[in-house]
Amino acid sequence: MSVSETKEIIVNGFWKNNGVFVQMLGMCPTLGVTTSAENGIGMGLATTAVLVGSNLVVSMVRKVVPNDVRIPAFIIIIASFVTIVDLAMNAFVHDLHKVLGLFIPLIVVNCIILGRAEAFASKNTPVSAILDGISTGLGFTFALFLLGAARELLGSGQLFGQQIMPADFQPALGFILPPGAFIALGFILVWQKWIDQRSAAKR
């Protein structure tokens, strides 16, 4: 694997082909758990763990599993990793598990994971697949963190549970409620497109 290939995988996963901003996948956890920056990061990292594991295993078995049954086999692999993450988090980071509890089983149906298994891991070597899992996962984490931080700041005046806004700031409750997730995501998408257009114009 050459250096430029490595760079491409990283840039693609994290930004150019970002699961949330560009592919618009995994919207259920993206909108559902991002009521705070901490939740966003927690969900992002849990997804990253599943993504790296499933990418690695899918890539390892890509020549063993026949094409006809690859999708069910991938689903079994992904579901197993989600269960492992669910159990491990419940046992070792119980507080975070309590907050994210309902959404962890839903990682199974996060299209980003099946998408990467199908589009990338099943066609590439284990090393590339791990790298792709890490960069895609961190890109997802970054998106969830941005959304969570924006909602927490506007909706409760805090960041990571610390009061940031001045005391007389009246929190806009709507941002903590579900509609706020859509509105905040819209603005973040505008910002992402704006950056991309600016860098395209420079070239």
């Binding site: 078995v61 599993v65 026949p66 006809d68 049954v69 069910p72 086999a73 079994i76 692999i77 579901a79 197993s80 269960t83 492992i84 159990l87 491990a88 419940n90 046992a91 070792f92 119980h94 929190p171 409750l173 903590i176 409620l177």
Partner: protein, 203 residues
């Protein structure tokens, strides 16, 4: 071997491997998960129970059912705290079915004289910013030291002595009334609650 059979066998093998791995992970995490759950239960009980017990209330419980505790009369555990064999108090969960949005689960701690020693809201889905003011300004602390004789049970609007909030009467009313019903039940069944031998813990 016909094609479909071969595919089936391959999927079966994938499933078997996944099952074996998951069984192993479950076995490793079962202990820590049970441990954290017990610790969590003990922590929440210790918050509401009278101080100074020397038994393990999370294991010393008896299950009782009544329509006043929750609408469906589902059995709830009454966790008993004792010191050197004397009965100190009981913690049990009442469910208010008449909140603004869904059930409100309230953990009540009472001492042997029927006086409230602590209130904790375990689960609720009240409107953020309105109904959840119950957690602010020590509103729940107002119940401590109150019993059926020394307090007028009800929100101020209903002629009781507990504050409601501007714009949110339903939530406080539901909580005050649920606690009252819980205390009524306790007063009538105190003997039974303390004297029934502990049930075999399911765990």
């Amino acid at each position: 071997m016909p094609h479909f059979l071969k595919m089936g066998v391959i999927l079966m093998i994938v499933g078997l491997i996944a099952t074996a791995i998951l069984a192993g992970v479950e076995d490793v995490t079962r202990g820590p998960i049970a441990q954290t759950q017990r610790q969590e239960l003990l922590n929440s009980l210790a918050q509401v129970l009278p101080k100074g017990f020397d038994n393990a209330p999370e294991r010393d419980f008896v299950q009782l059912a009544d329509k006043r505790i929750n609408r469906k009369a589902k059995p709830v555990p009454f966790y008993r705290s004792r010191k050197a064999g004397t009965d100190l108090g009981v913690a049990f969960m009442v469910t208010a079915p008449d909140g603004y949005s869904g059930n409100i689960d309230i953990l009540i701690g009472v001492d042997a004289t029927g006086t409230v020693t602590g209130i904790n809201i375990v689960a609720h889905a009240e409107t953020p910013g309105l109904g959840d003011k119950i957690f602010k300004n020590n509103w729940l602390g107002a119940f401590i030291g109150k019993n059926l004789k020394n307090a007028k049970w009800g929100v101020k609007k209903d002629g009781g002595e507990f504050d409601q909030f501007a714009g949110a009467t339903i939530t406080p009313r539901a909580i005050v009334n649920a606690i009252k019903r819980g205390l009524d039940f306790y007063a009538e069944n105190q003997e039974k609650i303390f004297k029934t031998p502990a049930e075999e813990s399911a765990k």
